[in-house]
Each structure stands twice: as structure tokens, then as C-alpha cells.
Amino acid sequence: MTEGAATDDAFEDAAPPPDRLTALVLDIDGFEGPIDVLLALARDQKVDLIHVSILQLADQFLAFIAVARRNQLELAADYLVMAAWLAYLKSRLLLPEPRNDQEPSGAEMAAALQFQLRRLEAMQEAGRQLMARPRLGRDVFGRGAPEGVDVVTHGVFDVTLYDLLKAYGEHRRRISVTTLEIVPTELYSMDDAIRRLTEMLGHVPEWTILSRFLPTGLRGRLLRRSALAATFLASLELARQGRLEVRQEGGPYSPIYLRSSAQ
């Protein structure tokens, strides 16, 4: 209902000049996504959007993508999705419609695109008109120095829903940060273990089992296990520095013994 090859002939000569496409590509950051680019291309056809040629528009967009590629510009994925969709739409518009097809027809797809473009154009225009209206605080003004009347229905406090939700949002954000901070401090660090082992070193000439070096009074299984791991790693580090010796007899999981280096 919208498109036919016949209507497109009229636009055959109206293909956008290459420098127009290049200009669009260079200005890509000024656009709000592929639909916005399509709208700019459609405006170039200089007809009411109701009469815009969707087929020509598809070609223009595909040409636009090609120019972007040639300029080695990285386009966001939605531009490529749109290009693929338009290529498909083009084939649906050009090929005869298969009978009993579950898929929407090419004409339906074209109509949907046209609707989307017209609606977006209408909203952009509405936004412009809205902003051009006389505005409070810029064009019209309220009383500069209101004396203030006790307003019965509005309560005493000046709190908006925004303030309320903002406060809750900030609260949520804060507690999520707090959680992040607490977790690491639950662990016994290797720095602590090295410090503790170094202090004890001078006093252990004899082989002593590793567990004797663990700090006492640790609460929580996780903390005790982290202390064991940290102390073991600390012992390896100090052994590497030649400050203590490590011994394990009987294979994996058997007790580990430490003593000060004999020097």
C-alpha cells in the first residue's frame, strides 16, 4: 500500500550526493541512533514523510553505512542491525510476495518504518515547540517576594518525590559500597602474617608445627582459614629470603614444620 516500484522511478535521480553522505557520517555523534539518521535522510527527499520512498530510503541508508565503512568509522551495533533489516525490507519490497506467508509483508514493514519516522519527527517538532513556549522563570515570572501563606493541603515541609527517591537511591548506593568494604577486612592478610612470623622467628630454633604460629583469638572459620593460608605463604616468602626453613615429611597434607635459619 505504500510502496511500488513504479513510485520509485520518480526518485531515481534523487540519490543523495556522496558528500551529503560523508557529511552525515562525519556528524554521526550528533544523531540519536539509526532512526534519527533515517529521518535526516528522509527529509532530504523533500517530501512529506507520508510520501517518502522507503525503497530509496533503504538505499540511502545502505550507502550511508558503506561510506562509514570506507571512512573506517566504527558504528554502533544498532546501525548494523538497521542496515540488515533494511536490506531484508528491500528484498521483500522488490520480490513478489509469497502466498500464505506468516511473515509481515514488505508493505507492512515499510508502513511500520514510515509510522516510526513520522512519529519521531512529530515528537522532535513537539519538543521544539514546547521549548519555544513562554517559560516560567525565563519569560514569565511568579511573585518575586511571596510573603507566604500557610497552605493547608501542602504540608509544612518542602520535600518532593524526587528528594525522597533520591535519598533512598543514595542510601542504597551507600550500603552497597559498605558491603564491598567490609568483606576484604574479614581476611587475614599476608602482610600481617609476614610481620607476625618475623617477630616470632628469633624464638624458634627447633622445628615447630605451622599451626603454632597462627594468631589466636580469630573468630570465624573463614578468617582462621585465611590466616592459615597467609601464614603458609609468609613462611615460603621468608624461606625464599633465607630467614627460615620449612619441612614437610609424609607427603601432601602432612604437618608442616618451621624453624629459624641456622646462621
Binding site: 540519536e32 541512533g33 539509526p34 532512526i35 534519527d36 551495533a77 544498532d78 542491525v81 538497521m82 533489516w85 531484508y88 509481515p104 507492512e108 514493514m109 511500520a112 518504518l113 509510522f115 516510526q116 513520522r118 512519529r119 519521531l120 512529530a122 515528537m123 522532535q124 517538532e125 513537539a126 519538543g127 521544539r128 515547540q129 514546547l130 521549548m131 513556549r133 513562554p134 517559560r135 516560567l136 522563570g137 525565563r138 519569560d139 514569565v140 515570572f141 511568579g142 511573585r143 518575586g144 511571596p146 510573603e147 507566604g148 501563606v149 497552605v151 493547608v152 493541603t153 501542602h154 518532593t160 518525590l161 524526587y162 527517591l165 533520591k166
Partner: protein
């Protein structure tokens, strides 16, 4: 030379002048003696001020005195510097105003692009939009609409006063109608709120 004006009209005038924000009829009535014809008095006062430099306006049922719009160019009032709204924010505000109530996903569908995080926040902080309850669809997504402050700020008597709204309605451009997304272009990659993937 005193008081040929009816006392109630003077009182109403004083109440509206003194109030720091627009008042609805209930709030006005609460300040007036019982039985006062508030609606009639408001209309009388509005007519008295219609041709003056200060006019009485009714925005969405809220009454307030405002400087006359035609004086805009002549009034040099020191104003706080206004932050310019981004294109995305202007478009989003228009979409919410004309299509309300609608969900974030619906805004994204109309614009064909994902809303960046701060856009709704800026409009909400300005006091122009507000939550308007949940949609009764799976996921019960939140909807947005405009506030009374929006009408006041853009000097609109009501939503029916939105520029061109009759034409847009007649052209079917405000119909809730599945657009491209349902024909396979996929929704914009709306990050977290996959909740309203109602298609």
C-alpha cells in the same frame, strides 16, 4: 477612596499574591470564609487582571499570578543561568508529555534508541515528570507522566493545550501501535530493564 471591591475578592487576591506556589481551589477555599463562591471569585479576578502586566493563570487546576507572557522580551529579571537541555532530554520530555503514561521501554521504542541513564533523572529532578503507577503487564513496569509543575513551567492550562496535540491525535501519531521493534529490528539494547519485553 477605599474598598469599592467586595471584601472576598480582595482576600482572594491577597492569598494568591502571598502564596509562594500555585494553589488549587481546595487550598484557596480553606483560607476563605465558608460558603464563598471560590470559582466565581477566581473568574472575576482573572477577568480583572486579563489586560494587566500581571495576569491570573490556571495551570492544571492550580492558580497563580504570573507576569504577562507578551512582556517576556521587555522584562529583564536576573535569572539563574538555565542549564540547556540535551536533545535527548527534550525529545524524551515531549514523548512523555504527548504519550503519557508510558514506560521507559516505550520511550525507547519511539526514539529507536536506548535512553542514557541521566535523561529521566534530569527531567525528574526538574520536577517536570513523575511516576504514574505501574502497567498491568508482566513485570509491572513503572510508567511516567508529566507533573503539575510541567504545566506551570511551560505555561499550559492543561495537557489539551500541548502544541499541536489535536493534529497529532487526528493523524494517529499518538496511537499506541507497535512500531519497528515488532518487525524484527529488535529493541534498542535497553540494558537492565529487560522486564518489559512484552513483545
Amino acid at each position: 477612596m477605599m474598598s469599592d471591591e467586595p471584601p472576598l475578592l480582595r482576600l482572594l487576591e491577597a492569598i494568591l499574591f502571598a502564596s509562594p506556589h500555585p494553589l488549587d481551589r481546595r487550598a484557596i477555599a480553606a483560607r476563605m470564609p465558608g460558603g464563598a463562591d471560590v470559582a466565581g471569585l477566581l473568574e472575576q479576578l482573572r477577568r480583572h487582571y486579563a489586560s494587566r502586566g500581571v495576569i491570573l493563570v490556571n495551570h492544571g487546576g492550580l492558580w497563580a499570578f504570573r507576569t504577562a507572557p507578551d512582556l517576556a522580551g521587555l522584562l529583564k529579571i536576573e535569572t539563574s543561568v538555565e542549564r540547556k537541555l540535551s536533545r535527548a532530554a527534550v525529545e524524551t520530555l515531549a514523548i512523555i508529555a504527548y504519550h503519557q503514561p508510558l514506560t521507559r521501554a516505550e520511550i525507547e521504542e519511539i526514539r529507536g534508541v536506548a535512553l542514557s541513564k541521566g535523561t529521566l533523572d534530569i527531567l525528574f529532578e526538574a520536577g517536570w515528570i513523575r511516576p504514574k503507577g505501574r502497567r498491568r503487564t508482566p513485570g509491572r513496569p513503572m510508567t511516567w507522566g508529566t507533573s503539575e509543575a510541567f504545566l506551570d513551567h511551560f505555561t499550559l492550562a492543561s495537557l489539551d493545550d500541548l502544541p499541536g496535540i489535536e493534529d497529532l491525535k487526528a493523524a494517529g501519531l499518538l496511537d499506541a501501535r507497535p512500531a519497528l521493534a515488532s518487525y524484527g529490528t529488535g529493541t534498542p539494547d535497553a540494558d537492565e530493564d529487560a522486564e518489559d519485553g512484552q513483545e
